[in-house]
């Protein structure tokens, strides 16, 4: 029996700055996970991953990350993705410096 599909977002890093970014419904890259497009089936996820992967002048290391839909937007399912969303724990750097990004 096929496994049930887990919602996903397309994520990558910004080519110039290295920041974590997410693909939106309007084909833009956002630093806010809450603005990411949530992909709810396999075919759409593959298509959106392919679309995101073509943006080679803007992003690097594109892949699909599992999320859970919540009222405030998608929530990471893996702690690695939670760390990517929030930044390092030891300094108020990266994402924490811009609270609106979290």
């Amino acid at each position: 029996m096929a496994r049930p599909f887990i919602d996903k977002v397309v994520t990558a890093n910004d080519l110039r700055e290295g920041d974590v970014v997410y693909l939106t419904e309007t084909n833009n890259w956002t630093r806010h996970l809450s603005e990411a497009e949530v992909l709810q089936d396999e075919a759409t996820a593959k298509a959106r991953l392919a679309a995101g992967s073509g943006d080679v002048l803007k992003i690097i290391g594109v892949y699909l990350a599992d999320v859970t839909a919540a009222e405030t937007g998608p929530e990471p399912r893996h702690f690695r993705e939670e760390f990517r969303r929030t930044g390092p724990s030891n300094y108020f750097h990266g994402k924490q410096q811009r609270a609106e990004n979290v």
């Binding site: 890093n13 080519l15 702690f79 760390f83 724990s89």
Partner: protein, 479 residues
């Protein structure tokens, strides 16, 4: 310290110019990421979780005040105001932006530094005893040999696409302060019939498959060192597995084939390579050695130091814990702890780097070292200057007296930064450091004495923690 020759300067400049154009071609789309990735890795540039990371080589951990100050400038101008000193005696900047990297590399080149082969499947930065040239128990300064190996391995045409990364460490003392048995090759200096040479250890390593290295040669004279190393690496280059990166390190090759077979293959290869250097390596070694002459040691009275040591408990604790015996009895080796409780192990702010640069220049014959334990070392400090050094370190939050204690913990960046990590390590280290504060000082001293005594009886003499039970004639002559 080793001074760049014109060849070195030109090589680094040309390499930086080459990488600058490669970055430009990546940014304008002429290079794909698949094409660019091996090029950036060869120049020390990773992509981590939140940003790029640039790993800068500090050969065998040695640097001077000017170089440290340049690292501080880079941290402030292009990063977030700090750097992370690593177990390979390097420094990492965690937040550089790709368009800035070429300028950062040029700034490094201005002070005879670079980031070449700090990543990729190559021979990485050669590490050595951080007390080299200063330790009381040293047979010979290993840094000249480390520099020879660095020059041999840099851009070595046969070893740019090895099965996996390759790490070499050297120690010149009977007491191993370079963790030689946990390296792909460990070189432990030994003396045989009056001649200094190296015991060669192969196949050690840490990571997901920790292995203790095995002795492949009990003694190799300096004149045959490079051909023997070349023989080992070339044998592994052919035999090492490329089908699985987790099985590719030489520790797995040695484990799977056995040390006897590896030794036989290496000896056969060595027989072919033995005369191929034609003495050029030895002529180069002699030139290199001139750069590692000891500094002009000062001669001064020690009375003021003895009085300060006797009257100031905070200073005495720091001296007892953070200094080590120097070959010159009027001097001490100072370890600056980068393990302040609650802080990230190995990190230093730009301001702290400048303070250490100033202290190194003023009191340390302009020499600093990075230890594999992620601390900074002042290898040559006259004991009469220890009070001033301690005071300056206190002012910069760098006077934590915990070298060799539980809170002197080594921690990789872990999943706070590293894309390859499986867990966070920094919060665990911070928790451990805070935990040690709960141990009473008297208990800590007893614990430390036990630890020292289990490691080396030699250290007992140098750690007069409990004056009531371990009387010492004079502090200036006991550490």
């Amino acid at each position: 310290m080793y001074k760049y020759t014109q060849f070195d300067t030109d090589f680094v400049r040309q390499r930086n110019a080459q990488f600058r154009t490669q970055i430009e071609r990546r940014l304008n789309g002429s290079l794909t990421e698949d094409e660019f990735k091996p090029l950036r890795l060869m120049n020390g540039l990773y992509l981590q979780l939140h940003a790029y990371m640039l790993r800068v080589a500090i050969p065998y951990g040695s640097l001077n005040g000017g170089q440290m100050r340049q690292l501080a400038m880079i941290a402030e101008r292009w990063d977030k105001g700090y750097g992370h000193f690593t177990t390979r005696q390097n420094i990492q900047f965690n937040w550089p932006k790709l368009p800035d990297v070429a300028d950062i590399l040029d700034a490094l080149g201005d002070v005879e530094m670079h980031a070449i082969q700090t990543s990729g499947n190559t021979i990485r930065n050669v590490t050595a005893d951080h007390f080299a040239g200063a330790a009381a128990d040293e047979l010979e300064d290993p840094r000249a040999y480390a520099e020879l190996i660095r020059q041999w391995s840099t851009d070595h045409p046969e070893f740019q696409f090895l099965p996996r990364k390759f790490k070499i460490a050297l120690c010149g003392s009977p007491r191993d302060r370079a963790v030689t048995r946990a390296h792909d090759i460990g070189l432990r200096m030994v003396k045989r019939q009056g001649l200094v040479g190296f015991e060669v250890i192969v196949g050690g390593g840490l990571g997901r498959t920790p292995m203790i290295g095995k002795v492949i040669r009990e003694f190799i004279p300096p004149a045959e060192l490079l051909p023997y190393l070349e023989a080992i690496v070339s044998v592994w280059n052919l035999l090492g597995r490329r089908d699985n990166k987790y099985k590719a390190r030489i520790k797995i090759t040695v484990h799977e084939h056995g040390i006897d077979k590896i030794r036989a293959l290496v000896e056969a290869r060595f027989a072919l390579l033995r005369d191929s250097f034609q003495g050029n390596d030895q002529r180069l070694l002699e030139q290199i050695k001139t750069g590692f002459a000891p500094p002009a040691f000062k001669t001064r009275p020690l009375k003021a130091f003895d009085q300060h040591y006797g009257s100031n408990r905070v200073f005495r604790d720091w001296v007892d814990t953070n200094t080590h015996p120097h070959r010159n009895e009027a001097y001490a080796i100072v370890s600056i702890s980068l393990k302040t409780p609650g802080k990230t192990p190995g990190d230093a702010s730009a301001e702290q780097m400048r303070v250490m640069a100033d202290i190194g220049e003023r009191y340390g014959h302009d020499e600093l070292r990075v230890s594999h334990e992620q601390n900074l070392i002042l290898p040559h400090v006259h004991k009469s200057d220890l009070g001033a050094v301690h005071k300056a370190l206190q002012g910069a939050g760098l006077a934590t007296a915990n070298i060799g204690l539980i809170s002197d913990i080594i921690a990789c960046p872990g999943m706070d930064y590293c894309a390859l990590a499986t867990a966070r390590s920094i919060p665990i280290a911070q928790e451990r450091q805070r935990g040690e504060k709960k141990i009473k000082t008297s208990e800590r001293k007893r614990l430390d004495l036990q630890l020292f005594s289990s490691v080396s009886t030699e250290s007992m003499t140098f750690s007069p923690f409990d004056q009531s039970t371990t009387p010492s004639p004079s502090p200036s002559s006991t550490f």
